[in-house]
Amino acid sequence: MATSTTKAQAGGAGRRGPSRTPGGDGTGRRRGALLHRLDVKGAPYAFVAPFFVVFAAFSFYPLLYTSWISLHRVELATLDVMEWVALDNYIELWNDSRFWNALGNTITIGIISTVPQLLMALGLAHLLNYRMRGSLFFRVASLVPYATSVGAAALVFTMIFERDFGMINWGLGLVGIDPVDWEADKWPAQLAISTIVIWRWTGYNALLYLAAMQAVPADRYEAAAIDGASRWKQFTHVTVPGIRSTIVFTIVLSTIGATQLFGEPLIFGQGPNGVTGGADNQYQTLGLLLYEEGWKNYQMGRSATVAWAMFLLLVLVFVAQRLIKRLRSRTS
């Protein structure tokens, strides 16, 4: 905060500078020019500085400190006692089957939740894009799940997916299907967790798509219609290419979200099973593994290591995406 105000004042002084100089001598003029240049070149940095100061304090510093912790053996109860272990935590994590299990679960839950979610959002946006009565109502309604807290949503879904007296098993019973143990079995559990994610985020993505769709010029549709393109053809050849950058944006956001998936499985599991992602770790995500190491085993060093692994994973995904993009643009 303090830094930004002083910089802003410096910028202000720079602005006042030139008005004082006209009657002055050569040095004054030169100083004025310098201040002017500082104003033009420096002011933008001064204006964005507050963000970066806050970023440095609350994101960058913790990021670095987390990496420092990850090179130590530290217990939650005695955070001031740190024992240097170099890269041991990382080596151990690499050899830990739970890490690969959590990574696998994060990826499968990520796919099960993201792919249908984005496809459904696209369809929903397409429907909302039609002229219809009460469109505002539907648009607001589709955003309601997003405004619901993770806790509330996950809790309600946990009850719906309950084994003995849950609504879904009751419904399955009506059509003669045996009850499913949604929590204890691997794929049902991952499906149930994905359902919570899909329910919460579909509407949000749909609205992003809708906003992008409304920016697609109407004459493209007219031209397509004149060429005899059907509604479906118009959707695949005009709408989708028209909102491509938004689709990429939502994919990036969903990937980040999926990597950090935490609240839904934690609440879905309830109690000790939430922390370990099921009795068999069948739905433990990387976020839950981080939590288990830190807040069940009280090993902050190992917890920090998982945090860094998650971060590196995102970097890896980003690099891979750039590489694929470059390769594709080279071939085309």
């Binding site: 400190y65 955070l79 976020g287």
Partner: protein
């Protein structure tokens, strides 16, 4: 520990800041209150208290009573839902030296860890007068090697078996609590045997004999002086015959499909109680309140309580005062009052948590307590006797709570069809990860 470098307070604060950031990554924020919130102002004393679950002090109006008797005292209580959430937060706050309350509850499963690692953050109770009324083993669990007493005992968890009279009748078993107790007197194996008979003979729907195999396991293991650690503090869970025996019997019950495969204290368990999907539950005294509430009015009188095969202690708590508190003496006085025999007897009568005070257990009004909900079972007598059967020497270990939870999960694996050897192997690996 003393060999390691111990740096300044400021550095610790920085570490905590980073840990807080980690917590943010994990999606849970910490509280940032200053000191304890307690203090003295204009002759008025404010004492803050941090508790968990249903400890009974707040529920039975004891804080109001104390405030009435001491008009200059104002007590502020914060209760966390369950202990598994409460304890990690307490750990973080002890490390940070921030957000603590003057008085903090300590569960028995954590007592050893607190005694070993956090003793310097709690006030010594050894100079409190008239605090010699506890059961012989209770106070030892919260005392350090050099004799510092970190808190006073609240309740204990002597065990019994809660059972459904109506289901027992439908299975052709006796329903009278004396006769039921005779069915399995002296040996948990007989309890499982009764379960097999029940499964065979019960007509009238899908009802399991017990709620969870882990309940049986806990009941057995807690009956031995040595559980997961020996007196030297070495981990012995994998060689201790008591643990192996309990694991095998619980796995027997799981494999024979005697359990409803529920997870105790988790949401699926509550509708199980309400709809009666199981016929028995091993019940420490403090569980009665939960059963009463969740099984509800429609099941009143259907539940009854019989003596358990063997005496054991499952759970119980302590109250400690943190060193940081600005009102240490006042807080100690409050703790001594809350844990005094009269108050413990009051909680037992109102709530059912069994006193850890020998004196309270001997009070006639405690001995004659009955529980209307459980078919007027003489809880005072049943749990009073069970309390005397608890081994006088119970060795606690640093990670008892975590190991208990991990083994419960292992038994859940057996219930879901994993072979017991494989489940034991997995459990062992997890415990190794958790205790290092």
């Amino acid at each position: 520990m003393s060999m390691l470098h111990r740096s300044s307070r400021r550095r610790a604060a920085a570490v905590v800041a980073a840990a807080g950031a980690l917590a943010l990554v994990a999606g849970c924020g910490g509280s940032d209150e200053s000191v304890t919130g307690g203090g003295k102002k204009d002759g008025k004393v404010t004492i803050t208290v941090g508790l968990y679950g249903v400890m009974g002090f707040k529920e039975t109006g004891l804080f109001e009573k104390y405030e009435k008797e001491n008009p200059n005292v104002d007590v502020k209580v914060e209760v966390a839902g369950d202990e598994q959430t409460y304890y990690p937060a307490l750990q973080t706050r002890l490390a940070a030296g921030k957000g603590l309350k003057d008085i903090q509850g300590i569960e028995i499963g954590r007592a050893k860890e607190i005694v070993e690692t956090q003793a310097d953050k709690f006030v010594d109770f050894s100079d409190v007068k008239g605090a010699d009324h506890f059961l012989p083993w209770k106070q030892g669990q919260i005392t350090t090697k050099d004799g510092k007493v970190l808190g006073l005992g609240t309740d204990i968890g002597p065990m019994a078996v809660c059972y459904r009279r109506d289901y027992f009748e439908k299975a052709g078993l006796p329903t009278d609590r004396e006769e039921v107790a005779k069915l399995w007197a002296g040996d948990w194996k007989k309890y499982v045997e009764v379960g097999r008979t029940f499964k065979e003979n019960f007509k009238g729907g899908d009802v399991a004999f017990m709620d969870a195999a882990s309940g049986l396991f806990n009941a057995m293991v807690f009956g031995y002086p040595e559980q997961y650690y020996n007196a030297e503090g070495d981990l012995i869970y994998d060689t201790n015959p008591a643990v192996k025996e309990a694991w095998n019997l619980a796995a027997d019950a799981a494999e024979d499909d005697l359990s409803a495969k529920l997870r105790q204290f988790q949401p699926g368990w509550d509708p199980g109680l309400a709809n009666g999907t199981f016929a028995t539950a091993v019940c420490p005294a403090w569980m009665l309140g939960h059963i009463r509430e969740k099984a509800g009015e429609p099941n009143k009188g259907k539940w009854d309580i019989a003596k358990a095969p063997k005496g054991a202690n499952w759970g119980g708590s302590f109250l400690g005062v943190v060193e940081q508190s600005p009102v240490k003496e006042e807080a100690k006085k409050l703790v001594a009052w809350l844990t005094a025999p009269e108050q413990q007897a009051h909680i037992f009568q109102q709530q059912g948590s069994v006193p850890s005070s020998q004196k309270a257990l001997e009070l006639p009004e405690v001995k004659k307590v009955t529980d209307e909900y459980f078919n007027n079972a003489p809880t005072g007598q049943i749990f009073g006797e069970a309390a005397q059967e608890i081994p006088d020497n119970q060795i606690l270990g640093r990670k008892d709570g975590t190991i208990k939870d991990t083994i419960s999960q292992g038994l859940a694996l057996v219930e879901q069809g994993t072979s017991r050897d494989e489940a034991w192997k997995t459990t062992g690996e997890r415990i190794k990860k958790a205790v290092r």
